[in-house]
């Protein structure tokens, strides 16, 4: 077997592996751990084209650009070798673009607090509402899901933890953590990355002269992590 043919075969196998990764990860929902779900259709389309190109590579060998095999190996090895994991509490210090820095903009869904069922809001919607008018939120009922963050540098009280979610616009590169402080007597029994559902009411507390919402929990129940753990913007 000539060198050109062998390299072309290898490239074909690697392209096939990338196409298979796109198909399988999209079909089983794990692609949502990397990119916005709006790209799922594109993943299938791209996988089909890569599959066709892999067949071309194998049946009609072409000379490969220099080092293309080595570069193709990197995503294949990382994609296959490391199980997809959602970003968690440890990464929140790195990926906190949106952490409590939500844009102050009109959001019809959250602007009229008195007219909506606030138990339907997720953490991001609470954060947006808090950036518009935190005082209007006091006493409102809450039911939110998220993972627990108990980092030592957060200076939380013993009876508090942060409940957080990541918000995605494009891909993991722009993921930002959004969190709310929760007050619960047994906070210490929950560890970071544990998914919980919190039910309670909103109270406010002063942070350097700015009122921030605090969830006074009535119940905290452990739940399984959702298959699509990121909140996504602009569906």
């Amino acid at each position: 077997m000539g060198m050109t043919r062998m390299m072309s075969w290898l490239a074909g196998i690697l392209l096939f592996a990338v196409a298979a990764l796109l198909f399988v990860r999209t079909a089983n929902g794990q692609m949502a751990l990397y990119i916005h779900p709006r790209y799922e259709v594109l993943m299938y389309g791209c996988g089909a084209v890569l599959f066709a190109l892999a067949i071309i590579c194998i049946t009609m060998p072409i000379p490969m650009p220099r080092h293309s095999i080595q570069f193709l190996l990197i995503p294949v090895l990382f994609g296959l070798g490391i199980a997809p994991r959602a970003l968690g509490a440890d990464a929140i210090g790195h990926q906190s673009t949106a952490l409590n820095q939500i844009a102050q903009r009109p959001q019809s869904a959250v602007a009229n607090v008195s007219a909506v069922d606030t138990t339907q809001w997720n953490i991001y919607e609470w954060a947006v509402a808090a950036s518009i008018d935190p005082l209007a939120l006091k006493g409102k009922p809450v039911q939110i899901d998220g993972f627990v963050v108990r980092n030592s540098d957060m200076q939380l009280a013993d009876n508090q933890f942060m409940l957080a979610r990541y918000v995605l616009t494009c891909c993991v590169a722009d993921a930002g953590g959004v969190g709310m402080h929760v007050q619960w007597a047994n906070s210490a029994s929950y560890h970071s990355d544990q998914w919980v559902r919190v039910e309670g009411v909103i109270d406010l507390y002063d942070v350097n002269g700015v009122m921030q919402p605090l969830v006074i929990a009535h119940t905290v129940a452990q739940i399984t992590a959702p298959p699509k753990p990121y909140l996504v913007l602009q569906k």
Binding site: M43, L50, I62, P65, L77, D90, T97, R105, D174
Partner: protein, 331 residues
């Protein structure tokens, strides 16, 4: 002899790649390394694969378009129809993206094919710079995100500034040379049988372009992921409060994030609370042109030597033009 040395070198590089990635995988899954290292490798791999997965469909589309240009565009037809003025040619190149709606992953290989098929370099440069923004998808996403926040003038300035920067870059860097891809040369040297199906020839061209550009996207995605892990975005955001540093900080953040231009307006929207409008304009103008994913791709097309000047030219033009429209009160 040379071929044998190249084969040995290629084999050694393949083994090194497998060993390096293998060490990361094994350490991440089985070795008792510190939690901080696992967090950082997890984050690196998640960001790397996120950028790569998101870029792949656009890169593949770009390779197909690039191959179509290479195969079907007649150089003489193009030469006869383009005006002689460099300014006008650059302006046409800057607006061409509206008819080829692709982001930077697609526009850079397509620009190379255009030049390789006889288009002036100034047209290729202006197209590569402007196409990620000057396309209908970006117009819709920017309008949806910002028309209601900062008004239509903000939306239109994004496109206006991009066209101005694309034209000026093409004019200010007349000595740029487009390096043909190794696969173009290979494809041209390869004799096609008369009865070879044009569809298969097109796919083979696309395959060559894809494998050629994929190398640079992988380098860029690795760099972007590494920098995001080493320098948290929160550090860059701290610079945003300084009026003098806000514009460069927004440009740096855009370069580090390396996100697709089709949705960067929504990412910018989430930064409204952190950055001033003019800094966000810099984010939206600079980011689609220059980021850690596109720099190696530009280097594949122009060679590495002119890249520092190319990046600096676009950075200075972005800062000067954004500052100008801010001082004039237009944003």
């Amino acid at each position: 002899m040379t071929t044998l040395v190249q084969q040995i070198r290629s084999g050694v590089m393949t083994l090194c790649t497998i060993a390096a990635c293998g060490v990361v995988v094994v350490a991440n899954r089985w070795l008792p390394v510190s939690a901080d290292i696992i967090t950082k490798t997890d984050l690196f791999i998640a960001i790397f694969l996120g950028i790569l997965y998101e870029a792949l469909p656009f890169l593949t589309a770009g390779a197909l378009i690039s191959a179509a240009i290479h195969q079907f565009l007649d150089p003489q037809w193009l030469a006869q129809r383009l005006p002689k003025s460099r300014w006008l040619v650059a302006f046409i190149g800057a607006l061409l993206g509206f008819f080829l709606p692709i982001c930077e992953c697609g526009s850079i290989p397509a620009a190379r094919s255009l030049v390789y098929r006889g288009a002036p370099v100034s047209l290729g440069v202006a197209f590569a710079v402007a196409a990620p923004v000057i396309n209908p998808i970006v117009f819709i996403s920017t309008s949806v995100a910002f028309a209601g926040v900062f008004g239509w003038s903000f939306v239109l300035w994004r496109f206006g500034l991009t066209v101005i920067i694309a034209v000026l870059t093409a004019i200010m860097m007349p000595k740029l040379i487009v390096v043909p891809s190794s696969t173009s040369e290979l494809a041209d040297n390869h004799t096609h049988a008369d009865d070879e199906i044009p569809f298969l020839v097109w796919l083979r061209h696309a395959l060559g372009d894809l494998l050629d550009m994929l190398r640079y996207v992988i380098i860029g995605a690795s760099l972007a992921a590494m920098i995001q892990v080493i320098v948290p975005n929160t550090l860059i955001l701290q610079l945003a409060s300084n009026v003098w540093l806000a514009i460069p900080a927004a440009m740096l953040l855009a370069a580090v994030m390396s996100i697709c231009s089709t949705v960067d307006a929504f990412v910018a929207l989430s930064l409204v609370g952190s950055f001033s409008p003019v800094a966000l304009m810099a984010f939206l103008v600079f980011g689609p042109i220059i980021d850690f994913k596109s720099i190696p791709m530009f280097a594949a097309v122009f060679g590495w030597r002119p890249i520092p000047q190319f990046v600096a030219t676009i950075a200075v033009l972005t800062i000067v033009l954004c500052s100008a429209i801010w001082r004039l009160g237009w944003v």
